[in-house]
């Protein structure tokens, strides 16, 4: 029997090249173990069975080049340097091959086993681009496989070829720059005595003026790179164009002018906002109508169990209650809101709608130091903050992701909306709710301006607008499942443990102690009755829980008989703005690490406290 070894395959390519489609095409299917994007690694991994082999598949972030100028590029470069893989599949969108080959040339400089996948070959042919893959194979010395990933065509051949290249360690031919540059490369290698197999790569990158590589090699700073940087990049660029001309022929294809007309109609001026807002409205409407319906059905039996449990005395029952509460918390988030949202996102993310919305919202988002793309997590946040945090991944830089994550915490999700409706809506009327939401937007705007003043501005918008593409439903289910697993296995268990922890508070009957401990804060600063202290703590678990706890604490559902209108408003303001719920906190932590989570919690709590305190003077 042959010894079975895991083959590690990494997917590298430019944004929108269909890399993730390939990943999802095989990942959703026969997946045995999965890792998820975390704080240390920014790439997605999965293990799959392929024939009798086990493949570990790594999806690197999409990058246009490998210049370490932004975080996605840096994380791809680090991965390639660490070398924990057997082969790299370079995925190329064949319809824009001329500009994609530049990344290919950069990958070749890493001198690693490689396979090229010419994806979306059908779209290229529609555009009149015919590629001779044999010629490309000869030129680079590595296998080239044509594919249409979204239809599953060519995937099998691609992975066969990748496994073979991994086993034979088939590397591409190295290419030469002009004589002058080559002399400098050699000089640089000698001077810094970098002669191992990555020596050439390091010399090229140092001469290119790449800050990351320069920091890795002692003495690299002294190498004069001023003039060569531009020459090297331009030469590589020219070589990519030349290669394209050699291997591809272009016939006059039918170019779609209809798409341009649609774009001009939908996206010019105010129509861009109208188009985007209609899209958001449709998404939110679908999520809320579906979510509310499912939530009722899913929570009814659990609420019955909770009701039943509350009749029994004893610590055991309290712990069980905590367990059920944690399960219910997950169900209340994942089934009704996360699932439909992931479904719609998966359906539309390759359809070309989101980049167009980013374009439409660019002007307005620049006012709070962000660019157009960040509008998407904000809107998602109204449904639930958890998927909103997840969706910050679409932003290019870590600092933008963090800014958006901070502000998203201020957006009232559906759970907080319930509290707002039950408190302000019920006791203040419809217009009070409208005013409250405008006030909320105002606070987000001001906070955005303040954060913008304290941090570096988002770079100017420059993104590709891909063609409109119809979604492929079978891929959508795989994607949704792949992402839902993330919540079920990573966040939910922590939510349940947290819930049990809170029920321990009840078991040891320290509610009163907590209330009197918090009294200086609840009574003194927020101007709320001290019995509400514990409800604010429970709100961390699930925001709508704080309202149920409130009714339990004051012993009546008629809140206005116990609290003044001012107290009701202050309670709602505090609940809306303070610490994001536990599930959100877990996600911030998983995505951005502990220090940032602490910052986010403090940020929210300070804003909530300040606003609640200030509203004492108004109401």
């Amino acid at each position: 029997m042959r010894e079975e070894k895991t083959v590690k395959i990494a997917l590298a390519g430019q944004p929108n090249c269909g890399k993730s489609t390939i990943f999802n095409a095989v990942a959703g299917y026969k997946a045995i173990v999965s890792n998820f994007p975390g704080t240390t690694v920014e790439y997605t991994k999965t293990k799959i069975k392929f024939g009798d082999r086990t493949i570990e598949l790594i999806d690197l972030p999409g990058t246009y080049s490998l210049s370490t100028m932004d975080e996605a590029e840096l994380s791809a470069v680090k991965f390639l340097l660490e070398g924990d893989f057997d082969v790299v599949i370079n995925v190329i969108d064949a319809s824009v091959m001329s500009r994609s080959l530049e990344l290919t040339l950069e990958l070749i400089e890493y001198d690693i086993p490689m396979v090229i996948c010419l994806n979306m070959i059908d779209e290229a042919e529609k555009k009149g681009i015919v590629i001779d893959e044999k010629k490309l194979e000869e030129k680079f010395g590595i296998p080239v496989v044509k594919a249409i990933a979204i239809k599953g065509k060519g995937i099998r051949e691609l992975f066969h070829s990748a496994i073979e290249s991994a086993e034979t360690k088939r590397k591409p031919y190295s290419f030469k720059y002009d004589e002058m540059v080559e002399r400098e490369i050699e000089k640089c290698m000698k001077k810094l005595s970098i002669k191992d197999e990555k020596g050439r790569l390091f010399a090229i990158k140092i001469l290119e003026g790449d800050g990351f590589f320069k920091r890795l090699v002692k003495g690299a700073e002294e190498i004069d790179d001023g003039k060569l940087a531009e020459i090297i990049v331009k030469e590589r660029h020219a070589l990519a164009m030349k290669t394209f001309e050699e291997v591809a022929r272009i016939f006059k294809g039918k170019r779609s002018t209809i798409e341009n007309r649609i774009d001009a109609f939908l996206l010019t001026g105010w129509r861009g906002y109208l188009f985007s807002i209609s899209f958001f409205f449709l998404v939110l409407f679908l999520i809320f109508s579906f979510g509310g319906w499912i939530e009722e059905i899913a929570l009814a039996p659990l609420d019955k169990i909770l009701d039943h449990l509350s009749k029994y005395e004893g610590s055991f029952y309290r712990l069980i209650e905590g367990l059920v509460q944690g399960i219910a918390g997950g169900i209340a988030v994942v089934l009704p809101y996360l699932l439909p949202l992931l479904f719609i996102l998966s359906l539309t993310e390759d359809a070309g709608i989101l980049p167009r919305i980013a374009f439409a919202f660019d002007s307005i988002m620049h006012r709070i130091g962000l660019h157009g793309k960040s509008v998407i997590p904000f809107v998602i946040g109204y449904g639930c903050n958890v998927p909103a945090i997840m969706s910050t991944k679409i932003l290019e830089t870590e600092s933008e992701r963090k800014k958006v994550a901070l502000l998203t915490g201020l957006i009232p999700c559906s759970a907080r909306t319930t509290v707002i409706l039950a408190m302000i809506g019920f006791y203040g009327g419809f217009y009070a709710v409208v005013i409250y939401y405008l006030f909320n937007l105002f606070v987000i705007g001001i906070s955005g301006r303040i954060i913008a003043a304290l941090t570096a501005p988002a770079p100017g918008l420059i993104i590709e607008i891909p063609p409109y593409r119809p979604p492929y439903v079978n891929m959508v289910f795989k994607k949704v499942w792949f992402r839902t697993k993330d919540f079920i296995f990573r966040a939910w268990p922590i939510l349940i443990v947290g819930s049990i922890f809170f029920s321990l508070l009840k078991v040891f009957n320290i509610e009163d102690d907590i209330n009197s401990f918090l009294a200086p804060f609840t009574k003194g600063i927020l101007g709320l009755p001290p019995v509400l202290g514990i409800t604010l703590i429970f709100g961390i678990l699930r925001k709508e829980l704080s309202m149920i706890m409130l009714m339990a604490a004051i012993g009546t559902t008629d809140i206005s008989s116990y609290m003044s209108m001012g107290e009701i408003i202050r309670f709602t303001v505090f609940i809306t703005f303070y610490i994001p719920c536990l599930a959100t906190i877990i996600y911030i932590w998983k995505n951005f690490g502990g220090r940032f989570t602490v910052l986010a919690v403090i940020f929210n709590t300070v804003i909530a406290t300040l606003l609640t305190f200030l509203s004492r003077f108004l109401f």
């Binding site: 246009y64 100028m69 660019d362 607008i465 063609p467």
Partner: protein
Amino acid sequence: MSIADIKIGKRARVKEFVGGWGLMRKVMALGIDPGDEVRVVVGMEGRGPFIIENITKGTKIAMGRGIARKIIVEEIE
């Protein structure tokens, strides 16, 4: 003239970039090169970002006004 000055629908040819090296690399990586034929698909006079079509490469790129001003073009009759 720059991309920000082309009338909607009119074709133009990219001549050069006048921005910094970092920006230039980004623009090149997105496949905009001197000699390429481009056209503005979406954009308004005076304010807001643009969507331009790179006719030579068959791609579309959205860019802020600041970046558009740094890409110098000449109109094609």
